[in-house]
């Protein structure tokens, strides 16, 4: 079918772009590399837009096989592509935001000596990300899952002469692999008990009771461990803040808008399995809200513009997991999409700021940038309003929906969610005011360089700002009596096991909205009082004390992990090598060798012997062996 090859092109084009840039990038001009790399993302966007329109008109799932990967007995895995309502939205997000970030990068990375490498990695990332969301089975998804970790490694450590960056890259990969082991084990359960890894077949088997609840619990919990790695949740989140070592557009694309949401995608895709395991869902919700709270607290006391955004990402991802945990898969995906818009916007905006600041990322040394870079400021403001949940910006709708869903399940979750929301508004506006308001606090030299970024960077900002502003129309609340587009659109993907949610009364829902909005505005007002009216600027890190110091130091989680895991692992390694392998095992071998085969004296004299002796020994032993064989019978 021609349409199949068209959809295959969606995956294949970024791969082709990667190969071109990787092999010939150094010979081609930067302009051509930029154009090729961007077009291989833009074209797939339009192909998939077409598919999206097809779905709007009631189109069916597109599913086809390429070829068999491997099969053993009745276990078989194919390369197959599945495009349904869920993957079409993910692909649009990936290629849409991806296109903007490629364009932005042409300008942002223009002076880098490894420019073509950068674009080849970025294309490869998109390829793997598309494999992740377009595969029709878990193992295909796993290809993308590990592939994006690889490209994430390559891009975090893009400036590979800096060993701190290399450490961050390595940490990201290894920590992700801890999660991957969980994913792998989860897959084993699914493969063994349902006999397939193909989503449609797995869901069918699960519907027929292929897994009892206890098994579903273990399998889904293992998979959730995988999700915590990729989506930077407790306990596997510490790699994401370090991942900010990569170029800023990479942080926007990989570490905010797309890759880190793969954990949500995994659970959404496996909703039939997760819905069988309410205990897992409870764990997901608790981990989600705990991560959201933790990261928001840390975000309050960070002074590196990208670190604030990184912790904000961790926190927002936590909210998405909260939504998943209360069974609101669609709501989680809603937030994936709006967050994709406004967080990509905020990261690209920070990139624009860092660009102007000549690489300085410390917000204490910024200030007053709005008069130098008005477009960056205006778009950043929209992004901040959106993430803070201020109506009518997109984040308001998705976050409000998460909070409402949490409220139905458990009031405590809702209270904590509102707290996260308040902290979010505060740290975002703290960031915004310190960066853009007041007077410039940096060096004279930096001041002379301040400028608005070129069009290639500001146009993506404007587009993302528009999306961040209006993205909420995808899921208007019930009380507005408007159709909830996402709920209707994604309904075919949800394998419903329990009864539908009871609806909140209109008055409750209005009240929840009002509380969320007012608390957000109070936070912003507080930030305004502190950082604009009082013009206070956070002191040096050493000046923090108490809770602020704890938050500034990220509650010493890295240090604790180092103490608990990294150092013991190295110590055990040395112990195994020096004590067990070299002394114990080898000692026993040498001892028994000496005792049984030769006396120590003979052994010593043999070791000082001549080569010819060995030849003789060799020949003799062979003769002996053959002779023994013949005579012995």
């Amino acid at each position: 079918m021609p349409s199949n090859s068209l959809y295959l092109a969606v995956v294949a084009l970024p791969l082709i772009g990667f190969i071109i840039s990787a092999l010939f990038g150094k010979k081609l001009s930067k302009q051509i590399v930029g154009i090729i790399s961007s077009s291989v993302i833009i074209i797939p966007f339009f192909i998939i837009l077409n598919a999206f329109i097809g779905f709007l008109n009631g189109g069916e799932m597109i599913h086809f096989y390429l070829f068999k990967w491997f099969s053993v007995g009745h276990y078989s895995v194919n390369f197959g592509i599945q495009i349904d309502q869920l993957s079409v939205l993910m692909v649009m997000l990936i290629t849409g935001v991806g296109s903007l970030i490629h364009l932005y990068s042409i300008s942002y990375m223009h002076d880098d000596e490894n420019y073509s490498n950068y674009f080849s990695y970025l294309n490869l990332f998109v390829f793997f990300m598309l494999v992740l969301v377009m595969s029709d089975n878990y193992l295909g998804m796993y290809i993308g899952w590990e592939g994006v970790a690889l490209t994430s490694y390559l891009l975090i450590g893009f400036w590979f002469k800096n060993n701190e960056y290399n450490d961050a890259a390595k940490k990201a990969f290894v920590m992700n692999r801890v999660g991957d082991l969980g994913f792998l084990v989860g897959m084993f359960f699914v493969f063994y008990y349902t006999g397939s890894l193909e989503f449609t077949k797995v869901n069918e088997a699960l519907g027929l009771g292929a897994m009892v609840p206890q098994l579903a619990f273990i399998a889904s919990a293992a998979m959730f461990l995988g999700a915590t790695g990729k989506s930077a949740q407790i306990p596997l989140f510490t790699w994401l803040p370090d991942a900010m070592a990569g170029p800023t557009p990479v942080s926007a694309l990989i570490h905010a808008a797309t890759m880190v949401t793969a954990g949500i995608y995994l659970i959404f895709r496996s909703n039939a399995l997760f819905s069988l395991a309410p205990d897992t869902l409870n764990i997901v919700a608790i981990i989600g809200i705990a991560t959201a709270l933790y990261a928001a607290l840390v975000g309050l006391a960070q002074n590196d513009i990208k670190k604030v955004l990184a912790y904000s990402t961790v926190s927002q991802l936590g909210l998405m997991f909260l939504a998943v945990g209360v069974g609101a898969y669609t709501t989680a995906l809603f937030h994936v999409l709006t967050h994709g818009f406004f967080k990509a916007l905020l990261f690209l905006g920070s990139g624009s700021v860092i660009h102007a600041m000549g690489g300085n990322q410390d917000i204490r040394e910024m200030g007053g940038l709005k008069k130098y870079m008005p477009i960056t400021y205006a778009t950043f403001l929209i992004g901040s309003l959106a993430i803070s949940g201020i109506p009518p910006f997109s984040g308001f709708f998705s976050k409000d929906e998460i909070l409402a869903m949490a409220f139905q399940q458990n009031k405590i979750l809702w209270v904590l969610g509102v707290a996260v929301s308040m902290m979010t508004a505060f740290y975002m506006f703290r960031l915004l005011f310190l960066t853009f308001s007041g007077d410039f606090r940096g060096s004279k030299e930096e001041k002379s360089h301040l400028h608005e970024s070129p069009l290639l960077m500001t146009v993506p900002l404007i587009i993302l700002a528009v999306l961040s502003a209006i993205g909420g129309i995808m899921g208007l609340p019930e009380v507005f009596h408007a159709p909830h587009f996402l709920n209707n659109f994604l309904a075919p993907i949800i394998v419903q096991t329990g009864e539908a949610h009871e609806h909140l009364s209109a008055s409750t829902e209005y009240m929840l909205m009002a509380i969320a909005t007012v608390s957000g505005i109070i936070s912003i007002g507080l930030a305004y009082t502190l950082y604009v009216a009082k013009k206070s600027v956070p002191g040096i890190d050493a000046s923090y004390s108490g809770l602020a110091k704890l938050a500034n130091k990220k509650f010493y989680i890295d240090e604790i992990y180092n103490f608990l895991f990294v150092r013991p692992a190295k110590w055990i390694s040395d112990f195994l090598y020096r004590a067990v392998d070299k002394v114990l095992v080898d000692g026993i071998v040498e001892l028994s060798g000496k005792a049984s085969l030769f006396t120590g004296d003979v052994l010593r004299s043999l070791q000082t012997g001549q080569t010819s002796f060995y030849i003789l020994a060799m020949v003799l032993s062979i003769c002996f062996i053959i002779g023994y064989f013949l005579i012995g019978l």
Partner: protein, 479 residues
């Protein structure tokens, strides 16, 4: 008769190389190995097309005792022949850039070893198998002894004693087998039904011989030292091809012949294998010598293959087959990368290196791809095998399976640490003049790189080739 060609070509090549001058020895050896490779590929082509060719050879060796010289080819042998005859030319080619002393003897020994290993994989008779097994040891012994590092004498001796010890035990097992069966033909041995004690004795003899070769914990202590001390081409032969003789031995000479003993010892062997997986990988985390690091990494990988074999299920045996080839490709590539570094810097020490990537982008790309293969990234060669092996162990015992799965974390940790310290960061006085690859080095890496991807994306031909053999072995191993 046709099958004899696989013995004749390498041995004649060995003779010619020995007679040639030192300067042309390498090229003659390369020609010989390429000829063997082409013949193997032709065989594979006929084999996979199902063309009716008689691939067996039988001759009476001795009348009393009743000893035959028997060779035959099935899917599993074919896989091992491909492994041997595909990788040997690469190993020979890898030496083109450096000149060994007395290279005519050196390459002659390599070819002799190739011939002997072909014999091991073709033998369908116990004594034939034993002779080739021993024959393959002699060349590698001299290679390690004469061309190894200065201090290699003691180490090589240890290696020699270890393997000889194993061989002696195997010989005893073979004799016992003969006493029971009156013949050492594989098909006769398949029909044999031995009592428990007989099976146990035979099992132990064979097992220890194979376990030393692989090596399986705790029979491994010769291995890291030998890999470090041997010349790199010797290390490639040992780790890439020769250790598969042991793994192949498990499948061919243990599973179908002494199934009771296999079932009895399987829990121990699988546990040893899995402990080896984690043990080797964990030790590799802190190693600073490139070759020693790869040696422990290899120990880890073969532990998993061993465990998969002893699950005696289709998944495990298929995974083991795929992984044997993948491991051969990756480990040879990694040791060659170590050799490339050594040629330019005179050291294998990670703490002395750094910044190579800036100087040698091609080399670092190849090295990185081999590293990805080795850590089993999906779409590279080791992934499918590793997935199947861990899955098979998980089916055998889910806790052991998860424990074995730690390898994916540990491997990432030690490999990325290694790569970072050797290749990334800034250059120093040792690496500042690092040259990128020359032509022969490119040509050595390229086939390996191609195999990393081809086997990773399309392993089906391998799986289909070994499928009937595995089915048969599992039937014979059923108790």
């Amino acid at each position: 008769m046709l099958v004899l060609t696989l013995l004749i070509l390498p041995f004649v090549g060995a003779l010619l190389t020995a007679l040639a001058g030192n300067r042309s020895a390498n090229k003659i050896a390369l020609l010989s190995t390429v000829a063997t490779l082409l013949y193997t590929l032709k065989m594979y082509f006929d084999f996979s097309q199902g063309t009716q060719v008689d691939w067996s050879f039988n001759a009476q060796w001795l009348v009393d005792p009743n000893i035959m010289f028997s060779l035959s080819v099935d899917g599993l042998s074919m896989l091992m022949l491909i492994l041997t005859n595909l990788l040997t030319p690469v190993i020979v080619l890898s030496g083109l850039g450096s000149s060994a002393n007395n290279s005519r003897v050196f390459y002659s020994l390599i070819l002799a070893m190739q011939g002997a290993m072909n014999g091991v994989f073709l033998a369908t008779e116990g004594f034939t198998f034993y002779v080739f097994w021993e024959l393959s040891l002699i060349p590698i012994y001299f290679i390690a002894l004469i061309w190894g590092r200065d201090y290699s004498r003691k180490i090589t001796f240890k290696f020699f004693v270890y393997t000889l010890f194993g061989s002696l035990l195997m010989l005893i097992s073979i004799i016992v087998l003969y006493l029971f069966a009156g013949s050492l033909q594989l098909e006769n041995l398949h029909r044999l039904s031995l009592n428990g004690l007989g099976q146990t004795i035979i099992f132990l003899g064979f097992f220890i011989a194979f376990a030393v070769k692989v090596p399986v914990l705790p029979f491994h202590t010769w291995q890291p030292d030998t890999y470090v001390a041997a010349p790199t081409q010797g290390t490639m032969l040992l780790s890439g091809i020769m250790l598969k003789m042991g793994l192949y031995g498990f499948v061919r000479w243990l599973l179908p012949i002494v199934p009771f003993a296999v079932a009895q010892f399987a829990p121990i062997v699988i546990t040893l294998g899995i402990v080896g997986v984690v043990y080797g990988a964990w030790i590799a985390i802190q190693q600073d010598d490139l070759k020693r690091l790869f040696a422990y990494s290899s120990l880890s990988h073969v532990g998993l293959i061993t465990a998969g074999i002893f699950t005696v299920n289709t998944m495990g045996l298929t995974g083991a087959s795929v992984q044997m080839l993948a491991h051969g490709v990756n480990v040879i590539g990694l040791f060659f990368a170590a050799e490339v570094i050594f040629r330019r810097t005179g050291t294998y020490d990670l703490s002395a290196l750094g910044g190579v990537r800036t100087k040698a982008p091609w080399f670092s790309t190849y090295f990185f791809i081999l590293l990805l293969g080795s850590i089993g990234l999906p779409l590279t060669n080791a992934f499918v095998g590793e997935f199947m092996l861990i899955f098979s162990v998980w089916q055998y015992n889910s806790a052991l399976g998860v424990f074995a799965g730690l390898t994916i974390i540990l491997a990432a940790a030690y490999m990325f640490r290694m790569f970072q310290r050797a290749m990334l960061g800034n250059t120093n006085t040792v690496t500042q003049d690092f040259q990128d690859l020359n032509l022969s080095e490119h040509l050595t890496f390229i086939p390996l790189i191609i195999l990393v991807f081809v086997l990773g994306v399309y392993p089906m031909p391998i799986i289909e080739m070994v499928e009937p053999v595995i089915k048969q072995i599992i039937q014979l191993a059923a108790i």
